[in-house]
Symmetry: C2
């Protein structure tokens, strides 16, 4: 049996709790839940249940959040404990080394620790070894798609990475699958109209510049690179910011959206140039062992797997010595259900090690 | 450290030995190698090396193959041992339960045990539990592609399978990607010409009827079904045999190839009918929890991911509750290097459990 300490039970965290507590083959016990303000620590005799943790977090038994106390509680139990960070907080990410050295395992979809400063990344790897603890973060790239687990297998079997290339943003996938389709409609939408539709469908961040600036994709490329043994850094990676320069200082999302049509001619020309070469536009991240890693808008031939993408799917292509024609993984790369699924897969990795005959 | 006992060191087995002995992060020791006639068992002091096992298998120290002796030798060592079955033998497959009950782990690309009689499948699962041993066979479906590991995660997290559909034969992938391309050449090849080309490239079995009868794909569908908890059986699965009835009794491969043009009109008509519906032909295997599992030639729209397939790639689409738009894995699904890679991934699964902090 594994204990779980959940930090940040929002949309993804709640879904994760719901998925793991339904497991019929393995037993997980929630011994702590904490949001940014309050936390509940279980009594040994009464683990938190799917229906009780929310109520308890709002009840008088909840105390002000203190992650040091939470970790001490988690480490004091007889059974091993996995701390599940469902936040996107830098402060929580910085706790991983301490937790790992206490022997607490960590799983998380939080990209901060793995795409932030390299010393933190290095310390996490070192702490996991020292604490004989496991840290997994499949959902930081492509949510539940088997991407980091596949990369780990490629690396640990001694394969050589030639190139890792993919579409890692559901938002930007949707945007360019529609704006630059292999089979465009007779009256195609402008770039700003396509962004506007994506925004109204809830596919973009509240301010679409947070998608268009490429930083979310950049974090995923940094994580992939580091998992492949290439010490990429967010501050030096080449990232094409698609927010037009004159719109970067627009005071808010509404002002930005109002001005965005100014950029339509620019994107229409890029699209037209691509079409002339029988290509479509896709916003891709690329890990290149030869130093040319990048995040950029690029042209792909109509027959390329990236061109045929639909909806808001993610896709990744691993080109390696053993897979000269790439190994491709494709599917939904965003959303609470698939993110929680990826975290559950990480939890299974740990439970299979600790209870191999469950 | 893990010991390895290799049975059937042919093309795949040799490649596997070569890959694992190159590992820089984990240590594996070969303590037995056996082909169908002779075997070598290591002395504790002298494990077999990449350069020595072949010589030793031909030397006077080699003894007649006796798998019971080999298993006893493997089980008598202090370290855990993985028996690696690189044969396609029914007789070797039938030994798995005994080995597992002795605590020997098993990994293999041999489909026989997992697609054969259900009682053997059941006994293997039971034996693994009783012996607290692991059995993995990723390479039985799609070689090194992360297919069975992904399916295992979907099942163990409690996701519900709606449908598993894929192109599981590199040969038949090549055949129909070329015969029924979304962008056919101006003078397309006939079906028999396409088979003939595939044969001359070494993509088919010596007798192409062994590909066209669909039995290899059927075995993979049975394995996928069983891994998904659906007890499919080779003898009752609906399998479309593409060998024309009048050619099934042709005395040999040459006679078959000579007569195959008789079937060209039939396949040309199927292709033409598909094209009229803006579709291509693909030979697919399908696992359907509602009892309609099958292996058949089917039509796919030009925009479907299966239509865009090139070369001899395999592809699999998992449609589930959590992935209503399917999770797709694609890439090379045949060849010694990728098959051995899939076996190496299985070996890592076991080593990560037994040596979690290596």
């Amino acid at each position: 049996m594994l204990n779980l300490a959940i930090i940040g039970p929002g949309l993804v965290g709640s879904e994760f709790i719901s998925q793991v507590l339904k497991s019929t083959t393995r037993t997980f016990r929630i011994i702590a839940v904490s949001n940014s303000k309050r936390m509940v620590l279980s009594q040994t005799t009464a683990p938190l249940t799917n229906s009780s943790w929310k109520t308890q977090l709002e009840s008088p038994s909840a105390t002000p959040t203190d992650l040091a106390k939470l970790a001490a509680h988690a480490a004091s139990q007889q059974e091993p404990c996995v701390v599940v960070d469902c936040t996107s907080s830098d402060a929580v990410a910085e706790c991983y080394p301490v937790w790992l050295r206490m022997g607490l395992h960590v799983i998380t979809p939080n990209k901060k620790a793995f795409s932030g400063p390299l010393p933190l990344w290095d310390d996490i790897q070192k702490a996991a070894k020292e604490g004989k603890a496991h840290v997994f973060h499949e959902s930081t790239v492509g949510a539940g798609l088997p991407i980091l687990s596949t990369l780990r297998d490629l690396i640990e079997t001694g394969d050589d990475i030639t190139r890792i290339e993919g579409i890692f943003s559901g938002t930007l996938s949707y945007l360019f699958n529609n704006f630059s389709s292999p089979n465009p409609p007779t009256t195609p939408s402008t770039f700003s109209q396509t962004v506007s539709t994506a925004k109204s469908l809830g596919y973009t961040e509240p301010d679409p510049r947070d998608d268009l600036n490429g930083m979310d994709v950049a974090r995923k490329v940094v994580i992939l690179g580091r998992c492949a043994g290439i010490p990429l850094d967010l501050t030096t990676l080449h990232v094409e910011n698609m927010v037009p320069e004159q719109l970067r200082n627009a005071p808010n999302a509404d002002a930005f959206m109002q001005q965005l049509p100014e950029a339509d001619a620019h994107f229409a020309k890029l699209n037209e140039d691509a079409r002339k070469e029988q290509c479509v536009l896709r916003y891709v991240g690329c890990v290149d062992p030869n130093g040319q890693s990048s995040v950029k808008l690029a042209k792909y031939p109509l027959a390329h797997p990236f061109a045929a993408l639909t909806g808001s799917d993610n896709v990744i292509a691993f080109t390696t010595r053993i897979f000269p024609s790439p190994l491709i993984v494709q599917g939904a790369g965003a959303g609470a259900a698939v993110t929680a699924f990826g975290m559950f897969c990480d939890l299974l990795k740990i439970d299979r090690i600790l209870s191999p005959h469950a």
